[in-house]
Every structure is written in structure tokens, then in C-alpha cells.
């Protein structure tokens, strides 16, 4: 009963906050489950961070990282999202390439490469952070593929984008 009350309160209480955290490198590999699901290798190399269930094919009908991950390289132990970006290479005069090292942001010097992740209701400089947000829907509803045809809870894609801010 106590927990039910607490949960209900948490759901209705207005929240004006942003969260900022560091994530170390999980793996650097030629994989891109979003653009090229299942392709090994993908066309581009990526530094990947986040949950340990990361795998070449992460289509919603195949797997759900929120259910399958057991740990993460991100500071919040329950953030099982994965995030990835292309690394940068330096081209030397002799034509060879060397990967440019990646490092943590100020305040996150202890992490191995990685990124700083922000979740914000409004832009960083807006201290009020008043815009309403909703939690991400299950990945099967989010539909990261075929975005142009997408609807979410019956809302057409364009409207869904403007109101909820889950772009593809």
C-alpha cells in the first residue's frame, strides 16, 4: 500500500529537471543495428556505449534491450539504451590512418572514451525545464524502422513528432 501511494505520487508530481551522465565505451565495432540491422560488418565503424545486450540485429521483433541487458557502461545502472557514433580518423602524410582517441567530458575523466548523455525537457540553458515529457514507449511501439509510415497510439507520425518528440 505504501509503495502504491508512493508510485501514484511520483506519477502526478510535476518534474522540472534534466539528467546528465557519463557512459564509457562498450565496444568499437563495425555494427549499426539501426541503419543496417544484421549486417556484419556494417559500412561504418562505431563507438558504442550502453547496455550489454547490444547485438548486430536489434529489431523490436528480434529482441528488447531493456529486457535483455543485465548491465550497462552508463552511470545509471538501469539505462540499458545503446548509443553509437562514428569515430574520427587522422590521415597522416604517408597515407596511413590512425583513430583519434576519445575521452570523457569534464567531470567524467575517469571513464573510458564514451560520451556524455543528457535527457532534457527543454534546451540546456533553460533552467525552468517546464515542458511536459513522457517516458519512452516500449521499443516495439516506438518503431525505429519504417518511420515515415509510423503511428504511435493512433497519432500520425508528424503529430507524434511534434508532441512527443520521438524522432526517427
Amino acid at each position: 500500500m505504501f509503495w502504491n501511494s508512493l508510485t501514484a505520487l511520483a506519477l502526478v508530481a510535476p518534474s522540472h529537471a534534466l539528467i546528465r551522465f557519463g557512459c564509457s565505451q562498450l565496444v568499437v565495432d563495425r555494427l549499426d543495428p539501426l541503419v543496417e540491422p544484421g549486417n556484419t560488418p556494417s559500412a561504418h565503424l562505431h563507438q558504442i556505449i550502453g547496455g550489454n545486450s547490444f547485438t548486430p540485429d536489434m529489431r523490436p521483433e528480434v529482441m528488447d534491450p531493456a529486457k535483455l541487458s543485465t548491465c550497462t557502461t552508463c552511470q545509471p545502472a538501469d539505462d540499458f539504451s545503446n548509443y553509437w557514433t562514428a569515430p574520427v580518423y587522422f590521415k597522416a602524410r604517408n597515407g596511413t590512418y590512425k583513430r583519434v582517441p576519445q575521452k570523457g567530458n569534464s567531470g567524467f575523466e575517469g571513464q573510458n572514451g564514451g560520451m556524455t548523455v543528457y535527457y532534457m525537457q527543454n534546451q540546456l540553458a533553460d533552467f525552468a525545464q517546464k515542458s511536459k515529457v513522457k517516458a519512452f514507449p516500449p521499443v516495439s511501439d516506438l518503431g525505429l524502422y519504417g518511420c515515415k509510415k509510423l503511428t504511435f497510439q493512433g497519432i500520425p507520425h508528424d503529430h507524434w513528432l511534434a508532441n512527443l518528440g520521438y524522432p526517427c
Binding site: L34, V35, A43, H44, T85, A86, V88, K103, N105, S106, L144, L161, G165, Y166, P167, C168
Partner: protein
């Protein structure tokens, strides 16, 4: 959710992704300016890449 395109090779194409910018770090506290171009001069503390959703 995806930002940017590896095939963007011109300013016009890059401008389709205003949420992908670079900051040339003079020190680890540098936050401005953000540029669409990759820095052309050495950045003493590195190059910060800024990616924002929604696009």
C-alpha cells in the same frame, strides 16, 4: 533515432542537420561557439561533438 548522414558532403546537406555541431575546445570548459564545419585549427583540449534529439 538517428542524427546526420555519412553521405552529407556539402554545406547545404549539412544544414539539414542543424543539431550536429562541433566545438573546438580551448580548455575542457569551452562551450562556444558551435560550428557546422569541423575545426580547421588545432583544438588544445580536443573537439567536442554535439548531437541533439529531437532532430
Amino acid at each position: 533515432m538517428i542524427i546526420g548522414s555519412p553521405t552529407s558532403g556539402t554545406r547545404a546537406e549539412a544544414d539539414k542537420f542543424p543539431q550536429l555541431t562541433y566545438t573546438c575546445l580551448q580548455n575542457m570548459g569551452t562551450r562556444f561557439p558551435e560550428t557546422k564545419d569541423f575545426p580547421k585549427k588545432p583544438c588544445p583540449s580536443g573537439i567536442m561533438v554535439n548531437l541533439r534529439f529531437p532532430t
